[in-house]
Amino acid sequence: MRWWVAVAWIDELLAEAAKSVDEAEVFFVEGESVSADLKRKNVSLATTSRDCGLGIRTIHKGRIGSSSTSNPADWRTCLHAAIASTKLATPQTWEGLPGPADLSMTPLAFDPAITVEPSTARELLARMLAGATEHEAEVTAGSAGLSTTRVLLANTHGVRYTDQHTGVTVSLEAIRGQSTGYEFDHAWALDRIDPEHVGERATFFASESSKGKDIPTGEYDIVLSPLAYADLLGNTYIPALNGRSVHAGRSRFASSLGQPVACEGISMYDDPLLPGANGSTRWDAEGTPTRRIDFIENGILRAFAYDLKTAYRYGKQSTGSASRGGYGGLPGIGHHNFVIDGRRSTLDDERVLYINNIVGAHTANPMSGEFSVELSNAFFMEGGQFQEPVRSAMLSGNAFDLHHTIAGLGNDTRTVGSLILPSVKIKSQRVIGK
């Protein structure tokens, strides 16, 4: 509990705030991270980072103000800026920040065995490089990083929540001729990543794709790897489940509640309490206790995600979906562990075009879902075997529509960022050859 003593100023801040505004909230983050980077096969730099900062929200008569600073000693300036900002915001229906709930403060994604030391990062790099020797390709760059973060949320209703997270990430890039391969892994615990496998896959893809041939333009049955599928979903489909976008008319799902939005058998949900998952947490970024949200059940759209502000405005309940991009970010609507599931099967009993990665998913139209992206490490595949690699081609389609033509979910499951998902087979997608 040494940490509570170190942040005694938070109570002082909240008491000071209570003199001039209805409610106030402080989000305080402190952490250390270390990383080591490879230039080809040599470690060329090691970095440590000491992060610290606080974000303040003040609410007065439905007006929400905010500010942030990286200097806790200067919280007074930050508080005054937040209060000044309160005066600018349009008042809205507001029914209060949450009060304290009886939640366990035992972290869900914290590995005490993680040491934020450069030597650990260097060992992870060595293990990736060992895995990389399995295939004929040159390593061009790589990185390994470890982090530990302490988070504190406090408000004028007596909420005093703490949490701790750890993280470990590894990534490796390889090349053979003009064929590149990339792989990564990330988790909250050291024993949940597989650096040798990351190294092996990076050189495998570089090596295997080097024999790529061009293919004719046409319609192909495709399989998107969890990586490619996550990239596409994260830029189109998932933002459309954001309650604020829905009510603002910025979501294609605005009038789809109760309607089929994916094939039968497909489910999508956020499970913040999933054991072992990276994003697990008992409370969201504004102190609402988290719970499972079933967005899509058996292909039918059942729910949207809400934070307090959006919920109060539109007469809904917060779904505990508030998240922040660091201490400086205002809480917005996000998710914790977004899972895509359904009946699993092998996807390549018949010949399919397997797409490991895509280039340019962020250029998809977030409103309409239209995308056209370049393929990366694509292969024809059958019976579990990679066959002819494809040199270069574009895949075009609509991220919303393709969910109605899903031919199956694979037996694999992978965590990609905050998504947990399998590979997916889709019938007759348009591929433009070179």
Partner: protein, 447 residues
């Protein structure tokens, strides 16, 4: 105890403090508006091998033993490195920051909010279901010093706004998005036309068609020509990627990659959105001709990549506050040629005209790039006809540049942000209208 300075061959410190002011208006509601503060530093130390780097939030400038402790901490990190880093010699100097026509700090936030709200309201209209406008202003105070005695200090103010209009009809949802960002001062006055333009594009797109992908003649507008230069050439010429063996442009200095009239430049001295008075390791910035008259001429470098690779110019180190410098572009563009717009469309004859950018991406090792247009038109007999939406373009770096058949006679720059290694820095891209033959255009449309 080892004496701190023993073995340290070089260090530099970049300390950035400042304020960010933002306003967010969504369908007439001021969602949030206010000011935040930041204070970040990065200390880099070279010992016998590679870099030891400390990233510090909330740094207080210090000297004597306190600073020596930091140096020692960074030096200990460097002990795990094995790559021998050598720094190339580079010219020094700092350019004056262009004066602000109107200093945003002199305008109070209530006035900014009122002006932004006019822009947001101007995006209203028939068919528009949602409007959103954001204002952002970042005031940065940068202080650089290194162990060779170089010291630089400057203040930069970047400000601007975005406006989004969403149109919807029978489940068809389309958007128009406009951005105006500048280093020249407050730019929120009299901008209602920008909001109207976003709305006009969103509504028109409801009736646009998705083209059928394939190979065709393509005319790119200046904004898209700039994205093309950035994605197809700029990234692949970055010295760190060349050094890693991760760019198809590696080892190709002096080779022909395009026609005689193709010249592609990166110029941090230009007073555009990617302007840098001095680079992030205290090196003087300089105009760099990546491609000169169709020949690969120069790579973009930091001091480290200059020493390792050569064949190019330093002064291209850039960093976000508190982050280590990387080789980055600044203002990247295709030089204007001598064709008129009419000549370009006439020469295109039948094909596609692409406008605006939703971004792009490149795999420099593979030499493949992709970028997306906001919208465009089919070109039939040299005339723009049906409006199209959701079109992308992809290509191979080594072959596509040969297919630039004509360059227009007027260049325009557009501001934006570029991401690399988890850092986002302000850039501008531009060019004239260009005609690209046999372009690979992606679109899911059918006949």
């Amino acid at each position: 105890m080892v004496r701190t300075m023993d073995g340290i061959s070089y260090y530099d410190l970049r300390h950035v403090t400042g304020e960010v002011t933002h306003i967010d208006i969504d369908n007439g509601v001021v969602e949030s508006a206010g000011t935040s503060f930041f204070n970040k530093a990065v200390l880099r130390v070279l010992v016998k091998s590679g870099w030891g780097i400390l990233q510090l939030d909330n740094y207080t400038p210090c000297t004597g033993t306190k600073f020596e402790d930091l140096l020692q901490k960074a030096a200990r990190l460097a002990m795990v490195t094995e790559e021998k880093v050598v720094l190339g010699d580079a010219p020094r100097g700092i350019l004056p920051v262009p004066p602000l026509k109107e200093d945003p700090r002199d305008v109070d936030i209530e006035e900014k909010s009122r002006l932004l709200s006019l822009v947001e309201q101007s995006a209203a209209g028939d068919g528009i279901v949602n409007r959103r406008a954001n204002y952002i202003e970042k005031d940065e105070h940068v202080r650089f010093s290194d162990s060779s005695g170089n010291e630089y200090e400057y203040r930069m103010m970047r400000s601007g706004f975005n406006v989004l209009a969403v149109a919807s009809r029978n489940g068809n949802v389309q958007m128009g998005y406009e951005r105006e960002h500048t280093i020249h001062g407050f730019n929120l006055r009299h901008q209602e036309d920008v909001g109207r333009k976003a709305a006009g594009v969103a509504v028109s797109l409801l009736d646009a068609v998705i083209p059928k992908g394939g190979k065709m003649q393509a005319v790119l507008d200046p904004e898209l020509a700039g994205v093309f230069a950035h994605e197809a050439v700029g990234h692949a010429s970055e010295g760190d990627l060349i050094h890693e063996g991760n760019s198809v442009l590696g080892g190709r200095i002096g080779e022909r990659i395009g026609n005689d009239y193709l010249t592609i430049i990166d110029d941090p001295t230009l007073p555009e959105f990617g302007f840098d008075p001095v680079d992030a390791e205290g090196v003087a910035v300089e105009r760099t001709e990546i491609i000169r008259k169709g020949i690969i001429s120069s790579y973009l470098h930091t001091r480290e990549s200059l020493a390792a690779v050569g064949n190019g110019k330093p002064g291209h180190a850039r960093a976000m506050a508190g982050e280590p410098p990387l080789v980055r572009m600044s203002n990247t563009f295709i030089e204007a040629g001598d064709s008129t717009e009419e000549e370009i469309f006439a020469e295109c004859k039948n094909g596609i005209f692409l406008k605006g950018s939703r971004g792009g991406q490149v795999d420099p090792g593979r030499g493949v790039f992709q970028f997306n247009a906001e919208y465009g038109y089919l070109v039939e007999n040299g005339e723009c006809t049906t409006m199209v939406r959701d079109v992308s373009l992809s290509g191979d770096i080594l072959t596509t540049l040969h297919k630039i058949a004509l360059c227009g006679n007027k260049r325009t720059m557009s501001p934006g942000y570029c991401g690399k290694g988890g850092q986002s820095v302000p850039v501008s891209d531009g060019g004239p209208f260009i005609l690209l033959c046999d372009a690979v255009v992606g679109g899911s449309g059918v006949d």
